[in-house]
Structures are given as structure tokens and as C-alpha cells.
Symmetry: C2
């Protein structure tokens, strides 16, 4: 079997701290299960690299990364102490740009963020049905509101007009919606294998064991809304076993708080997905536990990228107190993804997921530092 290679980019702030625990877990798994796994650590993209070189990563960064099977990223961005005049400051739009460059450069057109409230995670909602939350939010990751097109006319004057353009193509819309239906089927199959089931009603009253909900704002943003609606209906015809549902983004946010347990798979455009996945992260217990996967499902030449949903948290960086749980869940998800080619990696991913979930369930809410959590998980793995 060919060796699987991972590019590790710890980044800024708490990134290197949580990545260190992920690497320890990878070492334990590799040694114990003789995994054909190796990794290379990169000092970029990062704030420090920018300070030294005037750019967040080298010009050939994507070429270098392309040689790997996956990228494991810590966190980017270092606003630092804003009052320190000697501090090298960068706007977010600069320090976070590498994230968007990787997503676009490697055509990671799927961003997957599952939401489940695991035992031990913080429950923000009053209703105890929150324990039943089990959804997968799938974000279109390649276009839409994130095309960075537009401009500023008469900039800086009282007559200024800023234009921000959103672009949606049939091609990207179709592939993300189809991916959503495929995932819905896979999730239903998994539930059947686990002797579980969920019921969803279609609009014409039939019962299905999975559902895809598409998000638009078609009553106000028509061109995007009509394209998404039409493509959704077309693709749905190929999946009569999957119930379909349509929510406007404002109503969806409301229902994520009022009845999130009613959702199965949710497909949303880039910005709406960004918003809904942050909400979904809270539903799962907050940023401390939420993984994020930027996937290219159809081109094995291009690496997918795995990052926790949280940021670099400069306020607690350097203190060794960041919670590595989200990073470890992310690492587990990466192994499962890589395991599509090598079943032993998939098993390692499941083991890591289970160890982190067991650790979370056993913590009884006490605050533990980064290393302590890493130790506990490594011990469960060993």
C-alpha cells in the first residue's frame, strides 16, 4: 500500500498548541496499528511567516501542498494585543486568505460540518431534545458569495457605491446538491446498520428515512434562489427515497434554535453555509468541539483540507489551555476520509473519534489544559 502523506500547517495562536496534541495521537495510532502514514510540518501559512516574508505563504505554496493527500490546518489569524505599537498587525482578510486560497486552489467544493450534541458537550438550548440533534450541514465551498468580485466606485466620497457580486453556476450548484442527496442516503444506510431510524415526511405525504433541506432566500434574492430551487427539484427526482425540504435562510436560523433535531442533511450556499455551520457548531456544544472538512470528493490529485471551525483565539494563545477536542475530532474525520483508499486508516479515524468522544463524556465539565486532554486521549488509544 502506498504511504499516505499529510501536510501539517499549525498556523497561528492556539493552532500550534492543538496541532501538537493531534500529532501525538497520530503517532500513537501509527505505531500501534502500523499505519503507512507520514507527515511534514510547514511554518506557513502564518502570521510569523508574513512578518518575515511579506506574504502569508510562499508563491509556490499550493504546488508544495499538492504533493500531499490531505492538509491538517490548526488556525489562522493573529490580531495580537491591539495596543502594542510594535506589533506586526494584519487585517483578517489578509491573514485568513490562505484558507480561501486552498479551498479554491484545490477545488475543495464541499465543506462538511456535522452537528451532534455528544455527551459531555455543553448544551446551549433549554429543550432536552437537543440531545437528539444529528445533522450534517453541507456548505458550497467554491463560489457564490465568496467569488470576491465587485468594487468601490467613488471610494471614500459621500457618493460612494460599493458592489459585491454573487455568482452561482449550474455546475457547482448541481454537484453540491447531488452530494447532499448522496450523503442523506449514506446516513440512512448507516442508521439502518446501527438499528436506528428516523422518519421524514415528503411534501406529498410519503414517509422517508432521510431528508435534504436546501437553503435559499428566494423570496428576496431571486436569481440565486430560482437556480437553487430548480436544480434542487431536478436532482431530487433521482432520489425519490429521500424527503426534500426548502427553508429560507432566516427561517432556517430560527429553526436551528427552535427545533434543530428536525434536520438531517442541510445544503447551503457559501455564505449561508458559513452562517449555518457556526450555528450548528454552537448546537454541538460550541467551537471547542466543532470540526470542519473542506473536501474535493472527485479529484484524488487535489488534497482536501481539515481544520477545526474555531479560530486562533489570540486571547488564550500561549497559555496551554486551549481545548484540542475540535482539532482531534477534525483529525479523526481526516483519517476517515483518507480511509476511503486504506481501510486501516478509516478504522484509526473511528478509534480516534471514539476516544475523543469517550474523553468528552468522562470529563464531568472540569476545565483541563490542552496537554491533559491530549494525554487522556492518547492513553485511551494506546
Amino acid at each position: 500500500a502506498k504511504t499516505t502523506r499529510i501536510a501539517i500547517t499549525p498556523g497561528d495562536g492556539i493552532g500550534p498548541e492543538v496541532v501538537a496534541e493531534a500529532v501525538r495521537c497520530l503517532e500513537v495510532l501509527r505505531d500501534k496499528h502500523q499505519l503507512e502514514l507520514e507527515w511534514v510540518r510547514f511554518p506557513w501559512p502564518s502570521h510569523a511567516w508574513h512578518e518575515e516574508h511579506g506574504e502569508s505563504m510562499p508563491a509556490d505554496a499550493l504546488q508544495q501542498l499538492q504533493a500531499f493527500d490531505a492538509i491538517l490546518l490548526g488556525a489562522l489569524g493573529d490580531p495580537g494585543p491591539v495596543n502594542d505599537p510594535d506589533r506586526y498587525l494584519l487585517p483578517d482578510s489578509v491573514s485568513l486568505a490562505p484558507l480561501l486560497q486552498m479551498r479554491k486552489g484545490f477545488d475543495q467544493w464541499v465543506c462538511e460540518r456535522p452537528a451532534r450534541l455528544l455527551p459531555g458537550a455543553r448544551q446551549y438550548l433549554a429543550d432536552d431534545r437537543a440531545r437528539d440533534i444529528d445533522m450534517l450541514v453541507i456548505r458550497e465551498n467554491s463560489e457564490g458569495e465568496y467569488v470576491s468580485q465587485g468594487g468601490r466606485l467613488r471610494q471614500g466620497t459621500r457618493d460612494e457605491i460599493a458592489t459585491q457580486i454573487e455568482l452561482f453556476t449550474y455546475r457547482a450548484t448541481e454537484r453540491i446538491i447531488r452530494y447532499g442527496f448522496q450523503q442523506a442516503r449514506l446516513r440512512a444506510a448507516q442508521r439502518r446498520a446501527d438499528n436506528q431510524s428516523r422518519q421524514f415526511r415528503t411534501q406529498d405525504g410519503r414517509q422517508c428515512d432521510s431528508q435534504v433541506c436546501v437553503i435559499t432566500k428566494r423570496n428576496a434574492l431571486r436569481y440565486w434562489g430560482d437556480l437553487y430551487t430548480e436544480v434542487f427539484e431536478q436532482v431530487a427526482a433521482d432520489y425519490p427515497d429521500v424527503a426534500t425540504h426548502h427553508e429560507l435562510v432566516d427561517a432556517a436560523c430560527m429553526k436551528f434554535v427552535q427545533c434543530p433535531w428536525a434536520f438531517d442533511v442541510v445544503v447551503a450556499s457559501n455564505l449561508q453555509g458559513d452562517i449555518l455551520t457556526d450555528l450548528a457548531a454552537v448546537l454541538s456544544g460550541g467551537m471547542g468541539v466543532a470540526p470542519s472538512c473542506n473536501l474535493n470528493p472527485d479529484n484524488p490529485e487535489l488534497p482536501s483540507m481539515f481544520e477545526p471551525t474555531h479560530g486562533s483565539a489570540p486571547d488564550i494563545a500561549g497559555q496551554g489551555i486551549a481545548d484540542p477536542t475540535a482539532m482531534l475530532f477534525t483529525t479523526a474525520r481526516m483519517l476517515e476520509w483518507l480511509g476511503r483508499q486504506d481501510r486501516r486508516l478509516a478504522e484509526a479515524g473511528e478509534r480516534l473519534f471514539q476516544a475523543v468522544a469517550d474523553d468528552l463524556a468522562s470529563q464531568h465539565g472540569q476545565a483541563r489544559d490542552t496537554r491533559t486532554i491530549g494525554d487522556a486521549v492518547c492513553q485511551r488509544l494506546g
Copy 2:
């Protein structure tokens, strides 16, 4: 004193039912306090009008409405039983269009949606600090994502590209942000009058008794984000007594669930405001209680429009069980707004608000029908 005139547009679904209770309350207040108040009821905009005339409202609708001091709107939209082949169906984008036409036609550039969790309202969050939620979300209501520009190239083919354009002007950005700072000051003054106070820290560490938080997504949608950021900083310089804060829309949604009690005034663009106000409505106890005010603060010739945040709820329409609370809070807010010219109207608005709030607090969670709630509030007013 000149008579204040209200155009009442009950609309569709539960709209006429909840409006009926608002009218009863207005009658009690008018008779008891000799208010110079009159109203005219319009059968449009509505689904029924569209069915008969092929349009949701007459061509001169805005001209007719312009003669009034305010518009009190029930709810629009009637998806009806989708399986009934005889049903006259309209897409949302058609039946809800009059809302957007009024907002644009009367330059109602402010949409105000307060969020407070009043006693008796449903608490969705587990943390009891939810009882301290007291924020005002101010939505830019005249442009941005809602300009309805763009189109579909190669529509219906596999090569389709849909474009959706967002436009932001200095003029509309400046006025909505300035309005936010003014409201922050007024809220702080009101708290002082009530012997209450709240503390917010500015970025350079000073303490203020009010705050404005501006929402962008400047790390990904740059042109809009940069304009909003620059104008926010300019306007803030005129209000050194108000603390300033910046949130990205994804983080803001998260914090609305994690720590909504930390917000005071929030200013957001049209679509982001749409999303955040739906979340804010949930924080206040849900759609059953949330008012929405579409205001033109600077042109007394153009009427403002008041509507509950909820929709026409076709699933429960005609049963007399819709909760009129949101409609009654909306009516109270309308009277307060009209009271800028006539202090007795403002007092009537406060009385109505208090009666509805007292009724809400006294309900002990039992389900009551529309009329019962209206009766109870009228009795408190009488």
C-alpha cells in the same frame, strides 16, 4: 390637533385574525382617551385580491397609502393546501412583494426589531441570563442584498451562471449607522431615567453605558465589508460616549445563541439583518411575540409600516388560534412612533405595551385562542 390616520392592511392567513384584535384594542384606547385617531381597512395587498385582479394590489396602491400616517400590516402569503388542484397558488416572491415595495416606495430605510425576553415568553436558551437579553437589532432596509439586481445567463442549461448583485451606498450606510448610534444614546438615557445601567468596554479599555455592534463579513466579502467598516469608524468618532464593536455575521449568529445578553444595539445590512432579526425574535420567545417596524425617520410625508415578524401561518389560519401578541406589540410600537407628534398617542402606545406584557406574564403558559387574548388585553386597557 390633526387627526392621525392609519391604513390597515390585514393581508392573508392569520393576518385578518390578529389584526381584528389590534383594532379592538385601538377602539378601546381611542374611546377611553379621546384619541384623534382614525383608520381605513384595505382588502389589499392580499392573495384574494391577486386571485381576482391578477395583482396583489392596485397600481396606485402606494399613492393611496401615502395619504396615511402609518400602515399596520397583518401578514402576507397564502401557500394554501399544496395538493388542492383548484387552489390559486402564488410563489412567495409574488405574494410577499408588496412588503418590499412599501419598504422601498416609502423609503422605510430602518427596520427595527427589539429583542427582550419578557416574563411569560418562552425561553429557548438553557442559560438563565437569557432573562437579561435587551438588544435592538437595526436592519438596513433600503438596499444591499435586496436590490433585486442580477440575472441568469444561459438559463436552464448546464452552463448557466446566475448573478446576484449587492449594492451598498455611502449615503444609506451612513444614515443607518448614525441611526444606530442615536438609538444607543437614547437607550442609555432611558436606562438612566429608569435608574438602570449597563457597562460596555471600548477597544481601548474605556467604559461606556451603551454600545453599537456593526455586522459585516469583511474577511470574505470585502467591498461591502470595507465600506461598512470605514463608515462605522467615521460615524463612531461623533459618539465617543458609545462603545463600538465589530462582529462577523457568522460569529454574531453564534454569539446570539451563546451570550445574547452582551449586545445592546446591533446594526446590520438588509439580508444579515433579516437573519439576525429572526434569531433575535427567537431569543424574545419566538414569532408569537416579535414586532417589526419599517421606519422612515426623516420624511413625515411618507408613512412607516408596522408588521409582526411572523408570516401568514396558513397551517393554522381560520381556526381562531393564532397568537395576536406580536401584532399587539407591533400596534403599541406604532402608537409610540406616531406619538412623536402627539404625546397622547405615545402614552396610549405605552399603555398597550404594558397591557400586552402583563397579559403575557399572567398566562402561565396555557394555550388560549386569539379572541381570548384580545379580550384579556382589552379588559386591561378598559
